[in-house]
Amino acid sequence: MSAANQRTLARAVATLLAGALFGFGLSVSTMIRPEVVLSFLLFRDFGLMLVMGGAVVVVLLTYKLAPRVLNRPLLGDHFHAHPSVWNRDTAVGAALFGVGWGLCGVCPGPAIAGLGAGNFSLLWALVGIALGALVQGLRAK
């Protein structure tokens, strides 16, 4: 195997492991249960704040520190950034996302992870999300 192929494989394994950690965490935090998310939205259980807060702190520290300590990612060429903008699409999109989230208690991460945790009814949400993304893309210019 060439060196370039080895790097591609190493990156794929790293991505799989990172995803596994993410999915394991979503399961531990029971965010894969729509009922738990909905009970947060109904002000009955504030656990979701701890999940989000805990994740944000770890990510914040890593995004800040990693580029200072390392010239580049251990298996990659450069550190990416995903600059978000505030415009009409972001506002309308976020508002619609919230309506859907409040109706079903499922967001993209748990919809995917739920399949591995035996919560197969989340397949319905997964189908809905995929269709929503398709229609958004077909309507976009």
Binding site: G19, A55, G93, G100, L126, G128, G132
Partner: protein
Amino acid sequence: MKLSLPLFPFGWQHYLLGGLLVGAGAALLFVLTGRIGGMSTVFSSTWSYLVRSPFFQQSRFVDSRAWRLVYALGLILGALIWWLGFAGGQIEATAVPVWQLLLGGFFVGYGARLGNGCTSGHGICGLGSLQWPSLLAVLTFMATAFLTANLAARWLP
């Protein structure tokens, strides 16, 4: 020790631990590959395999679609390890009706892609990189989600 606040009727430790692990997953992805690991883009980038329209054939989807699928596969794998190794492998079920999952899911998919991010993209990665548009997006979807969930709880059977 009876310190569990009424804010957390089912305890708080698993929430914090789970959140730290979710963050560790996104952090590991960044340190090893430099990638930003929001979860909603995979729903657009995967369509680029099938739909030929210029929107789906943008390089930001085509160039990232392979690793995003691997990342999603990892999510399933991690949840599977939890399910079989820590949760006894009982089938989980939700009482949320199918039409709510389907219709709610549709809005989640449409909205997340129109607004360029979801609870992980804007919520975790966006706030994690201190981007104020992401904070506004989070406040917006939290507000409409609170409203929708409370109206649904009141009016739906």
